[in-house]
């Protein structure tokens, strides 16, 4: 059977990546020029569950336990937010500046939920660790 700590640590790493991507989106909400040209593009992660089909036992299971994993980090290709700023160095010939299509408020709430998710995984790891140490105490005479 799967080691719960293994599943939870992939949960942690996925949650951390999610926080990093959201932080990058917030930090670059007003970035109008990037190395690739054009404004910054909002990034998002594609998360998948990888079923754990290691042993014969788990193959017999009607359902399997799954480990979260990040399949890809994708860019949002929705059109940029055009703001009329004729004096801006990145303004086009009509005086419009392309800003990334990022809603800072909704990104902040996503960030909060991702950090709660990280905490939930930490709590679960702490619980599993406590369970294991209790089992180890069976052999200790007090």
């Amino acid at each position: 059977m799967t080691n719960p700590l293994e599943v939870l640590s992939s949960g942690l790493s996925v949650a951390r990546l999610r926080v990093n991507v959201l932080a990058s989106n917030i930090a670059n909400a007003e970035t109008t020029k990037t190395a690739e040209g054009g404004p910054y593009k909002r990034k998002d992660i594609v998360q998948v569950a990888v079923p754990n089909k290691g042993s014969f036992d788990s193959a017999l299971d009607r359902m399997t336990l799954a480990q979260p994993q990040v399949a890809a980090v994708v860019e949002d290709n929705s059109p940029a937010r055009m703001v009329y700023q004729p004096g801006h160095p990145d303004a086009d010939k009509d005086g419009y500046v392309a800003y990334p299509n990022i809603n800072v408020v909704s990104t902040m709430t996503d960030l909060m939920s991702a950090s709660r998710l990280y905490q939930a995984n930490v709590t679960a790891i702490e619980t599993v660790r406590q369970m294991s140490s209790e089992a180890a105490r069976i052999s200790i005479r007090s």
């Binding site: 998360q47 017999l60 299971d61 336990l65 480990q67």
Partner: protein, 135 residues
């Protein structure tokens, strides 16, 4: 006298309870790790049915009959009792894990595990006291 006569017969039941709570813990942790995974469906062990089965394994009427020795042994414990957990509502991304239910279950289930571990330890303590306090 066999040594296992010294041990309480309920020890096997407690051992089984630890085994099952550990397995249920695996299902719960898998759900917690996949709260944000699109299309992930929550899983759970049906704990009480499993435990009943574990305690009644000595009762022949509860055992599945094997008509050939080549058949798979289904009476013994197998891991194949993971089932869909429908406690949470399905979100727009197809995921149905309710983090609050799962965290509550994690706390409940781990305390059950710790209780069982403590019980086993106590039983061995009682036995070792009985052995040592002679004369």
């Amino acid at each position: 006298m066999k040594i296992d006569k010294l041990l309480d017969p309920s020890l096997a039941g407690i051992e089984k309870a630890m085994d099952l709570t550990w397995k249920r813990n695996q299902a719960i942790t898998s759900n917690i790790a996949n709260v944000e995974t699109p299309q992930y469906r929550a899983v759970d062990y049906n704990f009480s049915t499993e435990l009943d089965r574990a305690f009644n394994v000595s009762d022949p009427s509860n055992q599945i009959k094997q008509t050939s020795s080549k058949h798979m042994d289904l009476s013994s414990e197998s891991g194949a009792h993971l089932m869909p957990d429908l406690s949470g509502a399905t979100k727009p991304d197809g995921n149905n894990v309710d983090i609050d239910i799962q965290m509550g279950r994690l706390a409940y289930n781990s305390s059950k595990y710790i209780q069982a571990a403590n019980l086993i330890r106590k039983k061995f303590q009682i036995l070792s006291n009985a052995i040592r306090q002679v004369g």
